[in-house]
């Protein structure tokens, strides 16, 4: 855990792009969204705008003091009560790992039809992610750049191979079956943006233009999602309604020339993406725990946290009731918004008040 390592803003946003795309690809939309798939496109546009709004408190905290992360800010503003914020974020980052890992477990057990033991796959991935978190942010950032390039190449291949098969009649007018899909998808998209909280934890370690990075990251994510959804709906039509993981299904069909049946490669790629995401959030978990446990105890906490992620996500994977709850739960969205926006907003307001009171006392 080399906290003083510095990464470039571009590396941070490559990591965040991979993190965001992994959850979008492995989450099971058919359980949460019942209407027309086309309505996801306006939902993505709304989420794109909302993400910019949600990131504002963290961005302004960053502008105030570029050397302090969210936890440092909370200790500075709340004194010893900053411990509560650090504990909250520690739990939050572990929950993000559990949430993502549960989705991945479900995806793997359906796609690979458990020929390989799910427990062993989970243990292997968590062990790799734990190693990544120990190596520190520089190692994760370098790996994620490679994964990002492969990810973009794979996505471009998908789009190019399916684009000629797009048929106009496969599209449905927006909101044809009501607005339920639109709102549900927008809400899910908001619950899938823990990366904003991650920005708040990592910005002291980043050098470069954050404003430009945030703009390009958010635009890149939603442009990819919109393009993938457009091509998927246009080429496969109602077929995707029968599929649990529509993006994966498209990869199983897509092909150009001899490059066919590439789904196994996509599974490998998405597993790498998950590794980046879990490593990164475990690393953020360590940053939080270090603040109130100290470095040595934080290392032990990292081991315990990783084990918890593995055990709880496996447990949820086998309990479909909890899995369905997680799929489309308002509480997940509220939890995410609390971590990404409400707490940073409170901290921002507190710091403004403190500044005012300091300047008025000087007068």
């Amino acid at each position: 855990m080399k906290q003083k390592s510095i990464i470039k803003a571009s590396q941070l946003f490559f990591m965040l792009y991979v993190c965001k795309m992994v959850i979008n690809i492995t989450y099971n939309s058919s359980f949460s969204v019942k209407g027309e798939t086309d309505d996801r496109i306006p939902a993505y546009i709304l989420s794109y705008v909302l993400t910019f709004i949600l990131v504002l408190p963290i961005y302004f905290l960053y502008k105030q003091d570029q050397t302090k992360d969210l936890i440092d800010n909370s200790y500075k503003l709340l004194g010893k009560f900053g411990f509560m914020i650090a504990a909250f974020y520690s739990i939050y980052f572990l929950c993000v790992c559990i949430y993502n890992f549960t989705f991945y477990n479900n995806y793997i057990s359906n796609i690979m039809a458990p020929k390989v033991s799910l427990v062993l796959i989970s243990v292997s991935i968590i062990a790799c992610a734990l190693y990544g978190a120990f190596k520190g942010i520089t190692g994760i950032a370098q790996t994620s750049t490679i994964v990002f390039i492969l990810f973009v190449a794979g996505t471009l291949f998908l789009i190019c191979s399916q684009m000629p098969l797009v048929k106009d009649y496969n599209f449905t007018p927006f909101f044809y079956s009501g607005t339920e899909t639109f709102f549900t998808e927008a809400q899910i998209m908001l619950s899938h943006c823990p990366c904003i909280a991650l920005i708040g934890m990592l910005f002291p370690l980043v050098k470069g233009d954050m404003k430009k990075g945030i703009f390009l990251w958010n635009s890149g994510v939603f442009l990819t999602l919109i393009l993938l959804t457009f091509v998927m709906v246009g080429s496969l039509g109602d077929y995707i309604k029968t599929q649990m993981f529509p993006f994966y299904s498209m990869s199983a069909i897509a092909g150009i020339g001899i490059f066919k049946r590439m789904d196994s490669l996509y599974i490998a790629l998405w597993t790498s993406g998950l590794f980046i995401k879990i490593s990164l959030f475990l690393y953020a978990f360590t940053i939080c725990t270090e603040k109130f446990l100290g470095r040595k105890k934080a290392k032990i906490a990292l081991f315990i946290g990783s084990a918890l992620v593995c055990v709880i996500s496996l447990f949820i994977s086998f309990k479909s009731d909890i899995y369905f709850f997680l799929q489309n739960s308002i509480s997940v969205t509220v939890f995410t918004l609390t971590a990404t926006t409400f707490i940073p907003l409170v901290l921002l307001i507190l710091s403004k008040f403190k500044k005012r009171s300091v300047s008025s006392s000087k007068l």
């Binding site: 359906n110 796609i111 690979m112 039809a113 020929k115 390989v116 033991s117 062993l120 796959i121 243990v123 292997s124 991935i125 062990a127 790799c128 048929k167 106009d168 009649y169 496969n170 599209f171 449905t172 007018p173 044809y176 496969l236 039509g237 109602d238 077929y239 309604k241 029968t242 599929q243 299904s249 199983a252 069909i253 092909g255 066919k260 049946r261």
Partner: protein, 363 residues
């Protein structure tokens, strides 16, 4: 991590303990499902590539039950991932294909890019064809599907297209029809046109020239020929399709729905049986284009008469087009849109353009 993944190999059947399915035929037999398969015989394989395939049949209450019963005969586990074709017998198709397709949607091992055919007799007849003493392989049968767009004699379809058409009860599938032709050397399957469905039940067949019209209306012809009698000194001309597009517009203002279809056909002229003049004057080309318009319109009219009016089918995806372009009108007629389409007034305009003339500059 690699070692952990080896657990997938334990307790699994080896390749020689599996029957590798290359093609599947489904028939109705005595109220049950009879599945006929081309399977790769790994134990008795020969080096020339032929003779490795054997034909096995099995019956059961459902498709999966029949597959399962196969293992009782062979003592081997079926492997579906190498399957290339799904051939449905006529009687089985008339009975409905939803139950059959469900297996091909749900089962994780089957590929969505499998080509789907309907036999004008039984699927078993097609899969048992032998020519020159050798079984016609599923690679050869699958090639008929790939050539469908290039010889314009039957509409090819794979599982994704069929499922897309079956979902939502708006459109109906259309797949390539096969028949068995025989000569002194043996039997081989041949494209006999297109099988048209009403919902999930086979409504009837289009012959090869009606299929040409059907594919013109679908706008997916990439090759194929038709012969024009030029009624003058030029004799007959053989025209090749280069590219075809079809545009639809709807007029819902009158009592009866009016559907205008504009077909744009780019053609090549590569064979003129009485071309004393090596270089065709423009007047001749205009004349050939005019005759082509008439001929192609005849094909299209025949296809509409049969598929839409006689079979009461929406395999041209008119319902989905109406949903997209005339949404309010479609909502009104959604429950009986097939009868609205069969009573609609169709206006077909064909605009041909000779693009290439061999050994001459194009017009």
């Amino acid at each position: 991590m690699f070692v952990a993944l080896f657990s997938g190999c334990s307790g699994e059947n080896k390749l020689h303990e599996k029957i590798i399915i290359k093609g599947v035929g489904v028939d109705l037999y005595d109220g049950n499902i009879e599945v006929t398969m081309h399977v790769f015989d790994s134990e008795n394989s020969v080096s020339d590539g032929k003779g490795k395939i054997i034909v096995i049949s099995s019956t059961g209450k459902t498709v999966l039950d029949a597959f399962n019963n196969l293992s009782k005969k062979t003592g081997k586990e079926p492997l579906y991932s190498q399957n290339l074709v799904l051939i449905i017998g006529k009687e089985c198709a008339q009975n409905g294909i939803n139950a059959i397709m469900d297996f091909f949607i749900r089962y994780y091992e089957v590929r969505p890019s499998v080509s789907v055919f309907v036999s004008d007799t039984t699927a078993k007849d097609i899969l048992k064809c032998r020519y020159d003493g050798f079984l016609i392989t599923c690679e050869e049968i699958s090639a008929l599907s790939f050539m469908g767009d290039f010889n314009a004699s039957g509409k090819s379809a794979d599982v994704t297209e069929v499922v897309n058409d079956l979902c939502g009860d708006i459109t109906d599938p259309a797949v390539m029809a096969l028949k068995v032709t025989a000569d002194e050397q043996g039997q081989r399957p041949e494209t006999s046109g297109t099988a048209i469905f009403n919902k999930d039940k086979l409504a009837g067949f289009l012959n090869t020239s009606e299929s040409k019209g059907f594919m013109l209306l679908k706008g997916n012809i990439k090759g194929g020929t038709f012969v024009l009698d030029l009624n003058n000194s030029l004799g007959t001309a053989t025209i090749t399709f280069n590219d075809v597009t079809a545009e639809y517009s709807f007029d819902t203002s009158e009592e009866k729905l009016k559907i205008k279809i504009d077909i744009f056909a780019q053609l090549n002229l590569y064979a003129l049986d009485n071309s004393e003049q090596r270089h065709l004057p423009n007047t001749h080309i205009d004349y050939i284009e005019e005759l082509s318009n008439i001929k192609l319109k005849e094909y299209a009219v025949c296809a509409i008469e049969k598929s839409v009016k006689e079979y009461n089918s929406d395999s041209l995806n008119l319902g989905k087009r109406l949903r997209l372009y005339e949404t309010d009108y479609f909502k009104e007629i959604q429950n009986n849109h097939r009868s609205c389409l069969s009573s609609a007034v169709y206006e077909i305009n064909v605009q041909s353009q000779i693009k290439n003339i061999g050994q001459e500059m194009g017009p």
